[in-house]
Symmetry: C2
Subunit: 280 residues, 2 copies
């Protein structure tokens, strides 16, 4: 595995690989890798000639009072994990190279960037869409892999790819979970032992919604109510939202008749956790 | 010369050309081609293996009360001109293919998009940056050619390319002029005979500024005053702005000490005309 920090080197390697007809699979990450990231890399390994992973904690997608400074990092551990799953090129660009001055160029995906996570974290998806566009333009992948845990992010990126006619296939893979159902996330490392116990309520609540749906319940308000009740049984949880929405437009659905997403965001202590579940 | 309307065909041709190691030169236009466009195509011809030109009157860069509906078109004439200067691929995409729904994905170049032309035409450069990004992603050129007449547009595009790490060289070529100095523009076709006579005052005024500069004048206000006076000698002209600015930041300059741009926008009847001149 080769580690690359210079943008120009990454770009020229990708150019050369494309000229040779090699298929490039790309897994962009913010590092502190867990089984979710590794599952993306393994899939990329199986579907492409060359696997590129990137690690970059992108400052422009963090709000001024968010966790940019304390976001967990483990460059050495990440490197070993990438190597173990067969990554060929690990791209670790530096912020001053990607953003040489005050960033003034942005990709904006209007509409779905402004609801749910986008409403709680204004500017977040503008930062995400922009860095992903930049990384796509540098790495020039044929396919790029994202985890469904960040469902709204995946939707923003798919729209961006379509809207800017980017020549990239966006592949979304299932959320990986801990034994008690907690969605894997680098931010889980923030949780202390008690918070970690509390956090399991998110998956219990989603599962309760799923159970109701399986028994025939189609009224979104009823399911939302049950999920909220389940969450509220844990006093350590603050609910940001429990939403049942159309997976493309992100507009709330009153009745679950076709493919529909339930999206949940909570706070446990200082830590925000998100998760989701698909109906139909 | 091959004419292509389908995005997928253009994309796969470009992909194939790149795999063969061919250098692609690209001249994006809104059609109604004049000598300015053709000079870009000739340069592209001399510097690349394959020349792609595009003709697309991009609706998202026109304001609601602007001239989208009456923008001049001449598909047959344009085709013959492209063929004559050696264009290999003429890409003529259709609006519903480029914007299948209400456009919601935009590239925004903050700062320089909001002044001068951007202030008179809100949203204009957002539309320009977005369509150019889309066309770059479809055509995948190594080099793209633009005319200096649209100086601010060139600056917006250069910033976009840098900000999104697009793998394209932006080449800006000098403004082509009519015998009386009027900058060539498809919009000149709007001018009736009297308006056409009046329009020549723009270049006379810029030249007066240049003359003052050559005689040692460095005070921007003095030069601007002289240019305005020259323009105002034509009662048929309404001045939108006469600006002397830094060519990168577009901030007004009081004294001309280093490379500086004078940018002029006027109205002659219903027609807006822009032009510019570089000091140092």
């Amino acid at each position: 595995m080769k580690v690359i920090t210079a943008i120009a080197e990454m770009r020229s390697l990708s150019r050369a690989l494309r000229m040779e007809g090699k298929k490039i699979g790309f897994v962009p990450t913010m590092g502190f890798l867990h089984e979710g990231h590794l599952s993306l890399m393994r899939r990329a390994r199986s579907e492409n000639d060359v696997v590129v992973a990137s690690i970059f904690v992108n400052p422009t997608q963090f709000g001024p009072h968010e966790d940019l400074d304390r976001y967990p990092r483990d460059a050495e551990g990440d490197r070993a994990k990438c190597e173990a799953v067969g990554v060929d090129l690990l791209f670790m660009p530096q912020a001053p190279d990607l953003y040489p001055e005050k960033p003034a160029v942005f990709v904006v995906v209007e509409g779905i960037s402004e609801v749910l996570e986008g409403a709680v974290r204004p500017g977040h998806y503008k930062g995400v869409a922009t860095i992903v566009a930049k990384l796509f333009n540098i790495v020039q992948p044929h396919k790029a892999y994202f985890g469904q845990k960040d469902f709204q992010q995946c939707a923003v990126i798919k729209r961006m790819v379509a809207g800017l006619d980017l020549d990239v296939d966006v592949v979304v893979l299932p959320t990986m979970r801990e034994p008690d159902g907690l969605a894997m996330s680098s931010r889980n490392s923030y949780l202390d032992k008690e918070e970690r116990r509390v956090a399991a309520a998110v998956w219990r609540a989603l599962s309760e919604g799923e159970r109701l749906f399986q028994t025939g319940q189609r009224d979104a308000a009823v399911i939302q109510g049950a999920v909220r009740s389940e969450l509220l049984r844990e006093p350590g949880i603050l609910i940001d939202y429990v939403a049942i929405v159309d997976p493309d437009s992100f507009t709330p659905q009153a009745v679950i008749e076709s493919r529909t997403m339930m999206l949940v965001a909570v706070r446990v202590g200082r830590t925000r956790l998100i998760d989701n579940l698909q109906f139909l």
